[in-house]
Symmetry: C2
Subunit: 341 residues, 2 copies
DNA sequence: AAGCTTATTTCAAACGTTTGCGGAGAAGAC
DNA sequence: GTCTTCTCCGCAAACGTTTGAAATAAGCTT
């Protein structure tokens, strides 16, 4: 912290009045004479006075800062969430401290400690892929700091949450494939300890069952990134598993699958259709463009932040928790629309 | 700030000793008896005591926080920079407050005010596309808060900087196109008020001149995003401008160009080669894959943060400013390699 | 002129922590 | 028994701000 920044005391000294008078003058308190107010405000502007937010935080026992724990900022979805968070927070006069867990449990635990030490007024969390233990979240609760989970929530943990209807979106995506003529669809699934991983799988299964199609355990493969998708596709092709569609848990995985298929000479979508999830920057620019589910990251960020701020600003924080389900919409592009043959 | 969080005073009261003793016991000060130390540390652990970072900041006049002003977090390059910043900062025990300017001058000015009010110990800045006036940076300097510019610097502003050698990278990229047989290369340029915009253009020009190729003013078009690239390409095709290569100021622009070319039936790279800049997530997945310049965002983040921390922690901050030039390397992919015909 | 308002300002404490200094008590030196 | 030297601890001030309460000064009554 620079020693150069000037304080209320500096103004008081210069004007030979007390700091309390300066404070009140700046806040336009009725007890202060016009004359003094003018003098104070003029000098404050001249010296470019900025109230010390740190001192204010201490005094008011409120930091006007919210903490964000996010798995990895480099994903389009998560960075849009952050944009949404920032916009709402800044409009409300709150700062944002962002901590990446990098999908690591240990790092996530450290993140919560950091945020508590910094006395953030509330925390937004999307849990890491690794996290299977939740003590650190209970610790936040013990300290009476409000938490809102977004996208990746903790099953069974009572708290405000903002999620997309993953189950329904996955169901609709799969049904779209079925309507397009797919009969043997595999699912590249995410980690099953994440609720979203489970839900997307369940939605996929529901669509298959509803259409009276076969479901097979070996059609559900754990693959949630580019490289794993590549390996899974190679495996499928080498084993000559007979399929006509791939529904992937996210776009990177879908694109990895599509690439490998095309490299091996498989036509997408005519031989195998591909659909992704959580529409990002990438989906529009592949060839064919990738059908995907738009998760509305920005909106998720704004909604989560609004819910958090509401609780932070409530005098009585003990009202019931809220779960907001955003609806995701399927963006149909070339990768899933078989050409008439 | 939650009232639930416990303080040194709570521990002192419980143990019937003074807060100063607790403070010293926690810091293992030699004046304190073993007995007391043990009692204090035990209770602190039991109550899950976390030092109040806000109070510490105030006392030590040092917030252990650095501020980051970044144009738009949703770009792969910038989010990797943030990852680099965070990793170095956290290892050094510093927090990070991130502010997006959203490429707006006004917002950038507000960002600097916010960061100063929060008494950050230093600031990392990449200026917005709009910024043409720099008073707000001089204000930071007046307040003796160290600043490091990364990627997009302020011409003529004396400060630490981390940049990539945009000139050289653009030169090499263009030369690569020339060596591949291009003779009539247009440049989709960025805003010329940004140094990087100028440098990339100059590098392009140098390569052309050096090869004895023609340069034309109308071959330099201001286009720095997907949509502008689309329009520029349409214009080129409609006007039947005879060219065989496009060097774009960034990847999104290059991809926009490639898309439009392909939609109009132009073969990339054989008829027109395309090269981008600042290799991101996108470049690998187009077809053909995009040749681009890898700007090493993560490294830029780490280096900038190291330079900033060094200055923050220096007792005498008046040593000369440092300009670190990272070298970017050209990643050659399909979009620029014409097939032998 | 003494008392009473009213207007304006200052005092002091507080937020949680650190730290120089002084002090109580015990132990050792002579 | 007095003086010195440790050992261990508490006091108080400080960081910058806010705020209830007390103080001051000036203006009005009567």
């Amino acid at each position: 912290m620079s020693s150069g920044l000037i304080t209320i005391k500096d103004i008081a000294r210069e004007l030979r009045i007390s700091p309390s008078t300066v404070s009140r003058a700046l806040k336009n308190h009725p007890d202060i004479s016009e004359e003094t107010k003018i003098a104070v405000n003029e000098l404050a502007r001249k010296l470019n006075y900025q109230p010390n937010a740190v001192a204010l935080s201490l005094k008011q026992r409120r930091s006007n800062t919210i903490g964000v724990i996010i798995p990895e900022i480099v994903h389009y979805f998560f960075s849009s969430v952050i944009s949404g968070i920032e916009d709402v927070a800044y409009d409300a006069g709150f700062n944002v401290i962002i901590c990446q867990s990098n999908e690591k449990y240990d790092r996530e635990v450290v993140n919560t400690r950091t945020l508590l030490a910094n006395r953030v007024d509330g925390i937004l969390v999307s849990i890491s892929k690794e996290t299977q233990q939740f003590d650190h979240f209970y610790k936040i609760r013990e300290n009476e700091v409000p938490v809102v989970f977004y996208d990746r929530v903790v099953p069974g943990f009572e708290a405000d949450q903002v999620i997309v209807d993953d189950f329904d979106a996955a169901y609709r995506a799969t049904r779209h494939m079925i309507e397009g003529g797919c009969k043997k669809i595999v699912h590249f699934a995410g980690p099953q300890n994440l609720l979203i991983g489970q839900l997307r799988k369940e939605g996929y299964l529901k669509a298959l069952r509803e259409a009276g199609l076969e479901t097979r355990n070996e059609w559900i493969m754990e693959a949630d990134n580019f490289e794993k998708a590549r390996l899974a596709v190679l495996n499928i092709l080498d084993e000559k598993v007979n399929i006509d569609g791939i529904f992937a848990v996210n776009d990177t995985t879908a694109i990895g699958a599509m690439h490998t298929l095309q490299k091996r000479g498989v036509k997408v979508p005519n031989q195998i259709a591909v659909v992704g999830f959580s529409d990002g920057r990438l989906s529009g620019i592949t060839d064919p463009a990738l059908t995907s589910v738009d998760q509305h990251g920005y909106e998720m960020g704004t909604v989560a932040t609004e819910i958090l701020l509401k609780r932070i600003l409530a005098e009585n924080k003990n009202y019931p928790f809220e779960t907001r389900v955003l609806n995701a919409n399927l963006v149909i592009r070339g990768s899933s629309v078989k050409e008439i043959s």
